[in-house]
């Protein structure tokens, strides 16, 4: 099980704060592709990804129990 956290526009678009998925050895890129298709999301191209609270590349392989967060361009400060 992988938990995906959503923030900002993505959270508004999906109407939820997180999604749990049964996934196995997906890359971040594969997860993004699946999410884009399943939820009719606009492109996730400009969205960064964090795995377990650290930024991760698109080719990072996910494991059971990982917490993934999609991070739209940040605007704090």
């Amino acid at each position: 099980m992988i938990k995906v956290l959503l923030f900002a526009q993505l959270r508004d678009d999906l109407g939820k704060e997180s999604i749990s998925l049964e996934g196995n050895s997906w890359s971040v890129a594969e997860l993004k592709k699946k999410m884009t298709a399943d939820y009719q999301l606009a492109s996730l191209e400009t969205v960064m990804t964090a795995v377990n609270e650290e930024f991760a590349d698109d080719d990072t392989i996910l494991s059971d129990g990982d917490i993934v967060a999609f991070i739209p361009p940040v605007s704090g400060g």
Binding site: F7, A8, T46, M48, T49, A69, V74, S75, G76, G77
Partner: protein, 154 residues
């Protein structure tokens, strides 16, 4: 607790107190406040949302990066989350160093890094609508999925 998020209004003096020390001759602070007019458009209020545990980690990382570049610097950062009105304080960065040059440079480094790597987003509410600012065209996309190494280490 030099790096924190706050649901309550930020007390500037409390952030400064964390970095004052006997060997610091200079303290700089940066105070980001909610501005009413941006490019001719009037903001009514803002909502700040954070990925809280990661945001705190990233603020701590910025503190560590500053320590590496300016070993004598001490840093404290508090960022507000929730609803903010015009002139409310969104962020306070305090940096102390023995000499003033470093206090300005390190403080500036901190705000630039916050805008690059800390997962906090603001939603602007205007009279005629609302929008997550990170989705506006003037923001930088990250096509590789994470910030460039040069962003982090340079």
């Amino acid at each position: 607790m030099n790096f924190k998020l706050s649901k309550e209004p930020i007390v500037i003096q409390e952030v400064i107190d964390k970095v004052v020390k006997r060997d610091a001759g200079a303290v700089t602070t940066f105070i980001g406040t909610v501005r009413e007019m941006t490019k001719g458009k009037k903001t009514l209020f803002l909502i700040y949302e954070a990925y809280e545990p990661m945001a705190i980690k990233k603020l701590e990382q910025i503190g560590a990066e500053i320590k590496e570049r300016w070993p004598e610097a001490d840093t404290a950062i508090t960022h507000r989350v929730g609803k903010l009105d015009i002139t409310d304080i969104a962020v306070v960065i305090a940096v102390s160093t023995p000499h003033r040059h470093d206090a300005y440079e390190a403080n500036r480094y901190a705000i630039e890094r916050i805008k690059e790597i800390v997962p906090i987003w603001k939603k602007e509410h205007w009279e005629d609508g609302e929008k997550w600012v990170g989705n506006q065209l003037e923001t930088v996309p990250y096509p590789s999925g994470k910030p460039k190494e040069t962003d982090i280490h340079d």
